[in-house]
C-alpha cells in the first residue's frame, strides 16, 4: 500500500521531469498523480466498471490541475499532463498489440476496443472538468439565442 503510493508519486514526478515542468511544481504533479491513480484503482472495488473509473479519475486529476493552476498562475498543462499519465492504457494497448502479433484477431479487437474506450473515457473526464471551469465562456453553440 505505502510502496504503491510512493511509487505512484515517483512515477508521476519523473514524468513531470520528462516534460520539463519547473522544479518547484514537480511535487504538486506527483500528488495529483496519486489522487488520479488511487481513484482509478479504488473505484472498481466498489463495483464501478473500469471505463467509468478512468473517466472519474481523469476528472479528478483535471479538476485539481485547473484549481491549482488558477491558484498558482501557471498554465494548466503543467499539472494536467503528469496527472493524467498514470491512467494511460499502456497495459491494454500492449495486450492488443500482442494479440495481433499472435494472429488472434478477435481477442485483439476486443482489447483494442477496451483501449479506445478507456482513452475516450480519459478525454471525457478532462472535458468535464474543463467545462466546469469555463462556465459563461462557451464556444461554438448551435443557436444564436443572444439576439432579441
Amino acid at each position: 500500500m505505502w510502496l504503491e503510493i510512493i511509487l505512484c508519486f515517483i512515477a508521476t514526478a519523473s514524468f513531470a521531469v520528462i516534460f520539463n515542468v519547473p522544479a518547484r511544481l514537480v511535487w504538486i504533479g506527483g500528488c495529483i498523480g496519486i489522487a488520479s491513480w488511487y481513484s482509478y484503482s479504488f473505484l472498481p472495488i466498489l463495483g464501478v466498471i473500469p471505463v467509468f473509473a478512468a473517466a472519474s479519475a481523469a476528472f479528478i486529476a483535471a479538476f485539481l490541475s485547473h484549481l491549482l493552476a488558477r491558484f498558482l498562475h501557471v498554465p494548466v498543462t503543467t499539472f494536467a499532463i503528469p496527472g493524467v499519465i498514470p491512467l494511460v492504457p499502456g497495459g491494454r494497448a500492449y495486450s492488443t498489440m500482442l494479440a495481433f502479433v499472435e494472429e488472434d484477431y478477435l481477442n485483439g479487437l476486443e482489447r483494442g476496443i477496451e483501449t479506445i474506450l478507456q482513452a475516450g473515457a480519459i478525454a471525457a473526464g478532462m472535458v468535464f472538468a474543463l467545462s466546469i471551469f469555463s462556465i459563461r465562456r462557451g464556444v461554438a453553440q448551435r443557436y444564436e439565442t443572444n439576439r432579441s
Binding site: F19, N20, A23, T77, G90, L98, L130
Partner: protein, 252 residues
C-alpha cells in the same frame, strides 16, 4: 520599423515559443490577443495551428497589418511555456516594457532546459520502473524496466539527431527498447515480459499531443486539435509497430 511592427514581432515571437514548447492552442491565441491589445493595436485577430501562426491587426493610423510565422520544430518543455506565460502576464499588466519583454523572450528562447539531459534520462528509467510496478505489482521486474526505459530514451535522443522523420525514430527507439527488455528477461533478469516491455515503452508516451488535442478540440480550435490528434495517433502506432517487430522477431 514602426512601433506597431515591433509589437507584432514580440507577439509573434511569444506565440512561436509557446507553440514550439507545447502550449495549448487557445492559450497561444489568448496570449497574443491580450499582448496585442495591451500594445495599443486595434482589431487584433490571431489564427494558430500546430505548424504556423497568423496574426493581423490595425495600427492607430487605421492601417492593416498581417504577418505569419512558421513553427518547424516542436519540443516538450513546459518550463518555457510557464516562463513565456509569466512574461506576457507582466506585459499585459504594464509591469514590463515592450523592449524588456523582447529581451526576456530572447533569454527564454536561448536558455538551456531547466534539467540537465542526464537527469531526464534518469527520470525516464525511474518512470519505467515505477510504472511496471503499478501495472503488475512485482518488485523483481523494476530493474529490467529501468534499463529498458533508459535504453529507449537514450536511443530516441540519439536517433533524433540523425533521422528527420520523427515517427521513424520513435519506431526504432521502441524497437530497441523492446529488444533490450526481451534480452534481459531471456537471460533471467526479470520474470514477466509484459510488465518489462510496458515499463520500457512508458517514456515514449505522447502526453503533450494527447492532452492538447482534447483541449484544442473542446475549445473549438478544430484544425489544431485534429492535427495534434493525428500526431498522437501516429506516435502511438509507431511505438506499437516497434514493439510488435521486436516481439515477432524474438518470440517465434
Amino acid at each position: 520599423m514602426g512601433k506597431t511592427e515591433k509589437a507584432i514581432e514580440v507577439c509573434l515571437f511569444a506565440g512561436k515559443l509557446m507553440i514550439k514548447y507545447g502550449a495549448e492552442t487557445y492559450r497561444v491565441e489568448d496570449t497574443m490577443q491580450r499582448m496585442g491589445e495591451a500594445a495599443g493595436m486595434k482589431n487584433v485577430h490571431t489564427f494558430v495551428t500546430t505548424t504556423g501562426i497568423f496574426f493581423s491587426c490595425q495600427t492607430e493610423q487605421e492601417e492593416d497589418l498581417m504577418q505569419m510565422i512558421r513553427v518547424d520544430q516542436r519540443f516538450q518543455d513546459l518550463n518555457k511555456v510557464t516562463e513565456v506565460n509569466q512574461v506576457s502576464r507582466e506585459f499585459v499588466w504594464g509591469d514590463v516594457s515592450l523592449v524588456d519583454a523582447k529581451k526576456r523572450l530572447i533569454e527564454i528562447s536561448e536558455a538551456p532546459m531547466n534539467y540537465p539531459i542526464w537527469f531526464i534520462y534518469l527520470a525516464s528509467g525511474v518512470a519505467g520502473a515505477a510504472f511496471s510496478y503499478l501495472m503488475g505489482g512485482s518488485v523483481v521486474d523494476m530493474g529490467p524496466a529501468f534499463i529498458g526505459g533508459l535504453i529507449t530514451i537514450l536511443s530516441l535522443v540519439f536517433l533524433q539527431r540523425y533521422i528527420q522523420g520523427k515517427f521513424f525514430s520513435e519506431f526504432l527507439a521502441a524497437f530497441l527498447g523492446g529488444v533490450t527488455a526481451l534480452l534481459l528477461v531471456h537471460i533471467g533478469i526479470g520474470t514477466n515480459i509484459d510488465q518489462v516491455i510496458i515499463g520500457s515503452m512508458i517514456p515514449l508516451v505522447p502526453g503533450i499531443p494527447i492532452t492538447n488535442s482534447v483541449r484544442d478540440l473542446m475549445s473549438g480550435d478544430l484544425v489544431a486539435g485534429v492535427s495534434r490528434g493525428a500526431e498522437a495517433a501516429i506516435t502511438s502506432l509507431s511505438i506499437a509497430a516497434g514493439v510488435a517487430l521486436a516481439l515477432s522477431l524474438f518470440l517465434t
